[in-house]
């Protein structure tokens, strides 16, 4: 019997592995989700069959939980999904916490024997601690995402320091708990570190900006996996360990990937308070140049209906015309309308862009003059500025103090999104700062234009 249960656990672990693997690729994601759900179902059924338990409670619990989950999941608006995930995640953390607690109570009550009590106490501590942080952290994330920020406490001045101290205190309490798990001291320690961990979850998440919440949720998700694994160690259950650990590890990698896609480091997200600053002010500051990865640019382009390329001297330097033409063709195949907007002074000689684009065989029909393209600019989804600078500098239109004030430009800043491809912070021929790059709707893609465009083409090819 035991063997059978464990073999089933192995099977459900395998299902989880396949599930996660398949979730990572668009074609198989949905099937992967089903498969991993099957894994859980198997584990639950086997566990139920095996354990001669009080079914009333269990059935009630399952119905209640399943019902709530079902309703929540079905009724949520598409836009509300991220916060719902945060909420679910919090529940998962709380469940692990409770399992740990329950086990502690049993242990404390002496009903369950453990091979090595210190080890068990240690894993209980870990399960409860991580579970608590996950729980309250997720709740904060939920509140932030659903705009209920009023409910949250203000960020304290020396938040980081406080968090550090609290963390150390918890650790100390944990050690105490491990050593005195069987007596009252342990209980006191337990209650205290539980409380502090809950607070820590709030404090740790609170300063992080709303824009960074997805990353935080991914991290907390990873934590809830670890909490489950720790719970598994507590009750000596291998499927909990494997599933929890898989989630913990893959969730962590996912967190890293997400940070990368935002061009940030994890530390920056967690402690930089960056997202909060932009999230809270909302006003349009001179701001900073926001970079974006090729991959993320791909996702935007993939859904764009109307794309305008604005080539400049940088395209010539990078000799990117051939790949640009290819990207254009791919976008057209993808259903987008594609045009090339040629500013009269783009490049370094009259007709510079024409020479290059003709070489790359861009059809003349796709070349648009400045005035024609400006007329439709507000309807353009994405304007891709390829190594152009002066010819898309809004100062020429906005800023009477600019030396190029009065020069007509291609109004890419009126497009919904602007991707500006440059190698770095280099200025154009006129040496001016270009305010375009600081605009809300502009994203920089740094790197040699040819490499960047090739990267985009490769993304489409995948």
């Amino acid at each position: 019997m035991d063997t059978l249960i464990n073999l089933s656990y192995i099977v459900s672990a395998i299902l989880f592995i396949f599930g996660i693997k398949m979730l990572g690729s668009a074609d198989t994601a949905r099937r992967g989700n089903l498969i991993s759900a099957g894994g859980i179902l198997l584990a639950v059924v086997v566990t139920l069959v095996a354990a001669g338990l009080d079914y009333r409670f269990i059935a009630a619990g399952l119905f209640l939980g399943g019902g709530i989950g079902f309703v929540l999941a079905k009724r949520v608006q598409m836009t509300g999904m991220p916060e719902l995930v945060a909420l679910f995640n919090g529940f998962g953390g709380l469940a692990s916490l409770l399992v740990g607690w329950a086990e502690y109570q049993s242990l404390f009550a002496g009903t369950s024997a453990s091979e090595s009590p210190k080890f068990t106490a240690a894993v209980i501590f870990i399960a409860v601690f991580i579970g608590s942080v996950t729980f309250t952290g997720s709740l904060v994330a939920f509140a932030k995402l659903s705009g209920k920020t009023k409910l949250l406490p203000p960020v304290l001045g020396a938040q980081k320091l406080i968090n550090l101290v609290l963390g150390l205190v918890t650790l100390g309490l944990g050690v105490a708990f491990v050593f005195f798990a069987n007596n009252g001291l342990g209980y006191t320690a337990f209650v205290f570190f539980l409380a502090i961990a809950l607070v820590l979850g709030v404090f740790g998440t609170n300063p992080i900006g709303g824009g960074d919440m997805p990353v935080v949720i991914a991290l907390l998700n990873s934590c809830s996996g670890l909490a489950a694994a720790a719970a598994g160690f507590v009750i000596v259950n291998n499927v909990l360990i494997v599933a929890g650990c898989l989630v913990g590890a893959s969730g962590f990698i996912l967190t890293i990937i997400m940070c990368k896609a935002m061009n940030r480091s994890l530390a920056n997200v967690l402690f930089g308070s960056f997202g909060a600053a932009t999230g809270s002010t909302g006003a349009e500051v001179e701001g900073e140049m926001k970079a974006v990865s090729v991959q993320d640019a791909y996702y935007v382009l993939e859904s764009a209906q109307n794309v305008v390329f604005v080539p400049g001297y940088g395209m010539a330097v990078a000799q990117a015309q051939h790949v640009v033409k290819e990207l254009g063709a791919i976008l057209e195949d993808n259903g987008a309308e594609v045009a090339f907007a040629i500013h009269p002074v783009a490049g370094r000689m009259p007709g510079h862009m024409n020479v290059l684009l003709a070489e790359a065989d861009v059809p003349y029909e796709q070349l648009r003059e400045m005035d024609d393209v400006n007329a439709i600019m507000p309807t353009v989804d994405v304007a891709i500025v390829i190594g152009a600078n002066d010819v898309v500098n809004p100062s020429a239109a906005d800023d009477p103090t600019s030396p190029i004030y009065g020069m007509p430009i291609i109004n890419v800043h009126e497009a919904k999104t602007v991707f500006a491809l440059k190698r770095g912070q280099g200025a154009g021929f006129s040496g001016l700062v270009n305010t375009l790059f600081f605009r809300e709707n502009t994203r920089m893609i740094y790197g040699d234009a040819k490499a960047t465009i090739s990267g985009l083409v490769a993304e489409f090819d995948n």
């Binding site: 672990a13 996660i20 990572g24 668009a26 949905r30 989700n33 991993s36 859980i40 566990t47 338990l53 409670f57 209640l64 939980g65 399943g66 989950g69 079902f70 999941a73 079905k74 598409m78 999904m81 719902l84 995930v85 679910f88 995640n89 998962g92 709380l94 469940a95 692990s96 409770l98 329950a102 109570q105 009550a109 009903t111 369950s112 080890f119 997805p214 991914a218 998700n221 809830s224 996996g225 489950a228 598994g232 507590v234 009750i235 000596v236 291998n238 909990l240 360990i241 494997v242 929890g244 650990c245 898989l246 989630v247 590890a249 893959s250 969730g251 962590f252 997400m258 991959q295 859904s303």
Partner: protein
């Protein structure tokens, strides 16, 4: 010995988790997160087992609560993920 083996399992699972996720297109970030979050609802098994300990009403309550919460996590998590992915499919097709 058993704990050691469990630790072994833990280690291997950790590596496997790292290796499994390599290049995820960013539109899948959220579903993947949500889907693996649902997996972490495996604590449901722990909750069920916790209910076993006839260790008093308090433990029972804790276990019951854990069970409910974990179930919400599992059921809700899978359904939401599925909805996300369904939407995604439609856009692609």
């Amino acid at each position: 010995m058993e704990l050691i083996l469990l630790l072994f399992i833990f280690t291997l699972a950790a590596f496997l988790g790292f290796e499994l996720i390599s290049k995820v297109p960013s539109q899948l970030h959220t579903p993947l997160m949500s889907g693996s979050n649902a997996i972490s609802g495996i604590t449901i098994v722990g909750a069920i087992l916790a209910l076993k300990f006839e260790a008093g009403i308090f433990v029972q309550i804790l276990g019951f609560l854990a069970l409910v919460l974990a179930t919400i996590n599992v059921v809700g998590g899978y359904l939401v993920t599925d909805r996300m992915l369904a939407m995604f499919k439609k856009k692609g097709g």
